[in-house]
Amino acid sequence: MASQPTSRPEAILPPRSEVGVIGWLHANLFSSLLNSVLTLVSGALLLLGLWFGLKWIFFAADWTVISELGGRFLLGRYNTEAACDGQNCFWRPQAALIMVSVLLGAAWGLRSNQVARTIAWLVAGVSAAFAFLPYSLETMGLDVRILLLLNLPAVPLGWALARYTPLGTGTRITILGVAIFFITLILMRGLPGLPFLQPVSVVYWGGLSLNLILAVGGITLSLPIGISLALGRRSNLPVVKVLCIFFIEVFRGVPLITLLFMSQTLVPLAFPEDMPQNSLFRAAVVITLFSSAYMAENIRGGLQALHPGQAEAARALGLPGWQTTLLISLPQAIRNVIPAIVGQFIGLFKDTSLVYIIGMLDVVAIGRSFIQSNPEFLPSARELFVFLAAVFWIFTYGMSYVSGKVEDYLGVGIR
């Protein structure tokens, strides 16, 4: 039986100015005279900014330019008569989107993870919400709306696939993801000979989907290429080392815009004339290689920061060189530079907007060309670019948020 202490010395409570709301205010806003002045000035600025910003967003701004552009933001000129002669191509990107929802659902099912679930439902939910946009049925048909709504059941379908079928292993889901990427490309591009998959030239690809395709392809490939380049640069084989250094420094020394432009004027000359040429493919390769060069330097930084004792211990335990690298050095190096790697992914996503230089109409270029060809919307340019900034921000901030979660999961900085 635990005995209650009958008497204890009177505990002195902390002064009221140190605890609770007042304590917080005192510690964070009014700890000194200078701090108080700073608080008042910046607070006033903040309130002014909020007041004018919100007033502009809700009352002054004219957002019709966004609704006017509508689907073109997402697909560019893909779903037009010129792109898809005598046929409806709208279902092809929609089907790709549904597959992505299935994949996200499967990723959630694989690791019943809070973040994965949120992302899956967010993507599907936003896509489904587009089905209720207040456009007339002529501009946005019922078929489009139904396909968009199908994203909602797609998530549980993917979840169930991962849970109750043999598909539910990490490797298989990854293979599924790669397969879905290529199926998306084939769906968008079309296959000659198939009546319902009429080829659509890449010049009609555009909008946010173009940015996303370039970013997803670039991100998946730039990491392995970057790792190989980093290992090559650190290897003790002089020829390999020199080649890697040359590649990295050339790609890092020149602006991406210049490289993209070069890919359109010079690269075609370097291949035989009768080889099939695709400007978008060349641009994607250039963006990927450019990003790989930066990635290589990030990973090299991680490898250099690693204590040599790790590799030495692995060798002492009898692991051969390649296993030491793959199982000991690389995982630790990559874990330590996750922020830099994700920063590079974000940079790559932002850089996809540079394809305007080769005449592709990505989400930024399509907005800009719309403003230029419709001068009556010139005063709405501000609204348009604020909207575009918000769209990019959601994706890039989401990426850095997920990276933070991954770091927590891997215990970076803790163990």
């Binding site: 510690a27 964070n28 806003l29 700890s31 701090n35 700073l38 608080t39 910046s42 607070g43 600025l45 903040l46 084989l237 002089p238 020829v239 390999v240 080649l243 050339v250 890092r252 020394g253 020149v254 602006p255 991406l256 815009i257 210049t258 432009f261 070069m262 004027t265 010079l266 000359l269 370097a270 291949f271 035989p272 004339e273 974000i346 932002k350 850089d351 907007s353 540079l354 305007y356 230089i357 930024v364 800009r368 403003i371 010139l378 005063p379 340019a381 501000r382 670019f385 604020v386 575009l388 900034a389 990019f392 921000w393 890039t396 901030y397 850095s400």
Partner: protein, 401 residues
């Protein structure tokens, strides 16, 4: 029953498992593959150039360019040569790069330090700035500023401050020193350089005195005073000797029916937009670098400085920041490089930077040669930044233990 003893003789590692042989084979093979690829590309290119009659070589450099350049800081005329036009482009890029680097560093340090402020509002405001500008593509930001500048009042209704600063949708004008006589101006600039060197020497002397004796030597005040006094005296002497001062302040002034602004220095709309966009964008990255650098300095350093009675400002300036610089400088230099390369987006907002001029040139000149020249130019600029960074880095490197 004793079987004949087996004699083990060492026969050496088989060739296919000999590490050095494998390594050399890999190297020779990769070398051969790369050389073969390069030869193949090159022969294809030469073939294409011959078949399609594409011009090549560098003889175009001495031809007249005959294309106007929107904004140029060197005097330029359409009858100037390609080579000179490229020089104009390099100057344009260099000016944006240098001005942008200075402004972005100042803004970035300010925001990075604000991010670490103990004041909650200030720190959160800095965070919002960083998270916003870092995560939105530069191109979107540039277009945003482009249309903001377009909506500024026209040149005749310019916003005027103190009759000397003019802001309109054509650009921003401000007073600027202009040399009255080039020889005098050059002589004075030379003397001013000597004054700065003298100031630096005084700084070093006073600082050493302070270190050795512990008495305040006021190195900053003394060195500035020395430099300013020498500069002023030479200015006065030159003015009296030649009859006019080395530099005049030229104030911008609207002239004529269209209100065109004459005199002073005018940053035209393109430069203004590009500089604003680049500075705001790069500052957000620099702020993060500064924050990480300051946080990398051990807490004990700050605590010890505070315990010794240094004010928070003094702690930051004399204890934390100098140590943080070692961590800050290398990534900062790579941000300078990024800013220089990002200035190639100038073409999107009507600023004639090097890339923009070069891309226009490819219409009338061989693309291969032009790209070689651009790559060399950007490489030279990158190397310059790296060199400056390395020299500075060596000076502030951790010495001793």
């Amino acid at each position: 029953m004793v079987s004949a003893p087996r004699i083990l003789t060492y026969q050496g590692i088989p060739v296919w498992r000999h590490v050095q042989i494998i390594q050399w084979a890999v190297q020779i093979m990769s070398g051969i593959v790369v050389v073969a690829l390069v030869v193949w590309f090159f022969s294809n290119m030469v073939g294409a150039i011959q078949d399609r009659d594409i011009p090549s070589g560098f003889s175009f450099l001495s031809r007249e360019y005959q294309t106007p350049i929107g904004e140029h800081f060197l005097p330029y005329d359409s009858s100037d040569t390609f080579l000179y036009a490229l020089m104009v482009g390099i100057t344009n890029t260099a000016i944006v790069a240098v001005a942008g680097v200075f402004l972005a560093t100042a803004l970035g340090i300010f925001i990075g330090v604000s991010r670490l402020s103990t004041n909650w509002i200030v720190s959160k405001l800095a965070m919002v700035y960083i998270e916003f500008f870092r995560n939105v593509p530069l191109l979107v930001q540039l277009f945003f500023w482009f249309y903001i500048v377009l909506e500024l009042p026209g040149i005749r209704e310019s916003v005027v401050v103190a009759d000397a600063f003019y802001l309109s949708n054509r650009g921003f004008s401000m007073p600027w020193p202009t040399p009255t006589d080039y020889t005098v101006a050059l002589i004075w600039l030379g003397l001013a350089a000597i004054a700065i060197v003298a100031g630096a020497l005084v700084y070093r002397r006073q600082a050493r005195m302070e270190e050795q004796t512990g008495r305040s030597g006021y190195p900053l005040i003394y060195s500035f005073a020395t430099a300013i006094v020498i500069g002023a005296i030479t200015w006065l002497v030159l003015s009296f000797a030649t009859g006019n001062s080395p530099f005049d302040i030229s104030v911008p002034e609207p002239q004529g029916r269209f209100g065109n602004i004459v005199g002073g220095f005018t940053a035209r709309a393109g430069l203004m937009v590009l500089l604003t966009g680049l500075v705001m964008y790069t500052a957000s990255f620099i702020a993060e670098i500064v924050r990480a650098g300051i946080q990398s300095v051990g807490r004990g350093q700050t605590e010890a400085a505070r315990a010794l009675g240094l004010s928070p400002m003094n702690t930051l300036r004399n204890v934390t920041f100098p140590q943080a610089l070692r961590v800050i400088i290398p990534p900062l230099i790579s941000q300078f490089l990024n800013l220089t390369k990002n200035s190639s987006l100038g073409g999107a907002v009507a600023y004639s930077d090097l890339t923009n001029i070069a891309v226009t040139m490819t219409q009338t000149a061989p693309a291969v040669s032009i790209f070689m020249l651009i790559m060399a130019s950007y490489l030279a600029m990158s190397l310059t930044w790296s060199l400056i960074g390395n020299i500075y880095n060596r000076r502030i490197r951790f010495v001793g233990g």
